[in-house]
């Protein structure tokens, strides 16, 4: 082989790969992403299908079958009121997933609006950021607990109470990205030709933020699932009759010594869900932009 013919082969190794190689092989390079997505799909399917696959009604009380260990009839055993732990655990996933999705969407949307305002409107910058500093200084769970103390407990209010402490993290990220993007030539050029600010933000700034925002949103989602469970566990979460993983564990804590299974199974499901979301976040970060590793 002559040196001349060696050059195109070397080229095809790097240049053509992007065109020829199918998408799944790109995924294959990121095993954490695959494992995370896989686990998350399993949890999602199980939760969505809960009404059809749950062997019992999650609210059905059976006083004769209280605190029973795993059996053929009740795979995960029963709780203190004789309710089927498996059925409740399947239904409980719905609460966690709804919370994860809503909180990450809400926090991202509000965070982007405030962050862009801080990054592009010089007069608003100090006000928005001092407010965020203040919010950040109050520990998240404490703030959520305090919010739940003044508002009526429901799924919506829980979502709001978890969202508020998450907003500053998104705002800080968006603002720091905005400060760099603001100085980019194409943004200055757009300004120069008289493009209006909202158009610049929508057309030129936001698209360049999508990757870090998605990654951040997954981390917010993971934190939200944990906070929701913690709020329920502390007795200030979604109403107690709603089967949620946090509520199941809160009720089970009085029987920990005799019936560990009541908190074990929802706990495992909760941990797997959070782990899955975290793995998706880590995987996406590495896949989309490895430079983010230290920022997020």
């Amino acid at each position: 082989m002559t040196p001349a013919s060696a050059i195109p082969t070397a080229d095809s190794g790097t240049e053509e790969r992007a065109f020829v190689v199918p998408r799944w092989r790109w995924l294959k390079k990121h095993p954490t992403l695959i494992v995370g997505l896989g686990l998350l799909s399993i949890v999602t399917v199980l939760s969505v299908a809960a009404p059809w696959i749950a062997p019992f009604d999650p609210q059905d009380i059976d006083p004769l079958a209280r605190i029973q260990p795993s059996s053929h009839e009740h795979w995960f055993g029963t709780d203190a009121l004789g309710r089927d732990v498996l059925s409740r655990a399947l239904w409980g996933g719905r609460v966690s997933l709804v919370v994860a999705f809503s909180v990450s969407m809400l926090a991202t949307v509000i965070g982007v609006l405030l962050g862009l305002t801080a990054g592009f409107v010089r007069r608003a910058d100090a006000i928005v950021m001092r407010f965020m500093d203040g919010l950040m200084a109050i520990p998240g769970i404490l703030l959520a607990v305090a919010l739940m103390a003044v508002i009526q407990a429901s799924l919506t209010t829980v979502i709001l109470a978890i969202t508020v402490p998450e907003i500053p993290r998104v705002v800080r990220l968006v603002r720091s990205l905005a400060l760099t993007l603001r100085e980019q030539l194409y943004v200055e050029a757009a300004h120069a030709v008289g493009t209006r600010l909202p158009t610049i933000l929508w057309r030129h700034v936001l698209p360049n933020m999508v990757a870090p925002l998605i990654v951040q949103a997954t981390f917010v989602a993971a934190a939200a699932v944990l906070t929701e469970a913690a709020l329920s566990f502390l007795g200030v979460g979604v109403p107690a009759q709603t089967p949620s993983w946090g509520n199941m564990m809160a009720e089970g804590r009085n029987f920990v010594v005799v019936a560990f299974h009541v908190i074990l199974y929802p706990g495992i499901l909760l941990a797997v869900t959070v782990l899955a979301i975290n793995l998706v976040g880590d995987g996406l970060r590495d896949a989309l932009d490895p430079r983010l590793a230290k920022q997020l």
């Binding site: 500093d133 305090a146 003044v150 508002i151 469970a229 941990a271 975290n278």
Partner: protein
């Protein structure tokens, strides 16, 4: 000295914002705060009386000014439920919470920094992978779940530690430490995960710097090289430890509930159930102030790590 003052002043706006948020919190409720505090059994007269007692009939800005004025003189108000001054309530509960926080922090620093450095030094090997898997896991399992696992294993199955409760340090250092082992390990796991990840990322980046290559080239041993790297990684690590304080304070609330420890975290949860707003507001204020203060101290400590920093 001038720098110290300037930094101190810079914390004022943050604390002011915290005060506004905490003050407005109680007015956020859709109903009458007085009715909320009085509870379901209160009569209209009770509520009206409470209304005046709390100064709720005054305009909002006046209420805020009065409240801030009292705060400035160190008066955090009186608990509605126990009728005891909040400062007294807090000081009764301070010892357990402070003990947990201090030991957890110590545990974190002596575990997470070596662990993160080890992972960075062995990046890509199975040791690194094990450390990272631990870090992701510790971040994903709910604190209270781990707490109960610890109780079940090390207090019920193996009777090494008390199941729950807290022993005051005045009743003996041994029993005090024994009652703190499980709660602190529990709480430290999340914190260790956070600091380990940050340490690994920072040290890994520094290990690629030119001066590290030079140090290696002149024949410096692996440990000494890591020492160089760690010293340069100190500032990001310290910053993470500071930001993690919020996580720590939040975690204390959960851990104290799991281990039935009568600390400040438990006080908040009890107060929420009793609608005891002055206590809730005070705990929020005090924790935010602690967070700001510790982060200020960390900021000021940067010079210890890096003498090139001049204020």
């Amino acid at each position: 000295m001038g720098y110290l003052l300037r930094r101190l002043f810079a914390t004022l706006p943050v604390l002011a914002v915290v005060a506004v948020i905490v003050f407005l919190l109680i007015h956020l409720s859709p109903g009458d705060p007085a009715a909320l505090i009085a509870g379901d059994l209160a009569t209209g007269e009770d509520i009206a009386k409470l209304h005046t007692a709390l100064g709720l009939d005054q305009p909002l800005w006046k209420q805020f000014a009065l409240w801030i004025g009292r705060l400035a003189s160190g008066d955090l108000g009186t608990s509605i439920y126990t009728q005891v001054p909040v400062t007294e309530l807090l000081s009764q509960r301070l010892e357990p919470t402070f003990s947990i926080a201090a030991i957890t922090m110590l545990l974190t620093i002596v575990t997470a920094i070596p662990l993160g450095t080890l992972a960075a030094a062995t990046a890509g090997t199975w040791i690194d992978r094990c450390v990272m898997i631990f870090a992701v896991l510790a971040f994903s399992v709910p604190v209270f779940m781990v707490g109960y696992l610890l109780i079940y294993t090390f207090a019920v199955r193996l009777p090494w530690f008390p199941v729950q409760g807290y022993v005051h340090v005045a009743d003996g250092v041994g029993p005090w430490l024994r009652s703190l082992v499980l709660p602190c390990v529990n709480l430290a796991l999340v914190y260790i995960a956070l600091v380990t990840r940050m340490t690994r990322a920072t040290v890994l980046e520094i290990l690629h710097e030119d001066y590290i290559r030079t140090a290696r080239a002149k024949g410096l041993g692996a440990l000494a090289v890591l020492g160089h790297a760690l010293r340069n990684a100190a500032i990001p690590i310290a910053t993470t430890v500071g930001v993690g304080i919020a996580l720590l304070i939040g975690g204390v609330v959960v851990t104290e509930t799991v281990f039935a420890i009568p600390g400040i975290g438990r006080l908040v949860i009890d107060s929420v159930q009793r609608h005891d707003y002055p206590v809730i507001q005070s705990v929020l204020l005090v924790s935010a102030a602690t967070y700001v203060l510790i982060n200020l101290l960390i900021d000021l400590s940067y010079r210890l790590f890096d003498p090139r920093i001049r204020y």
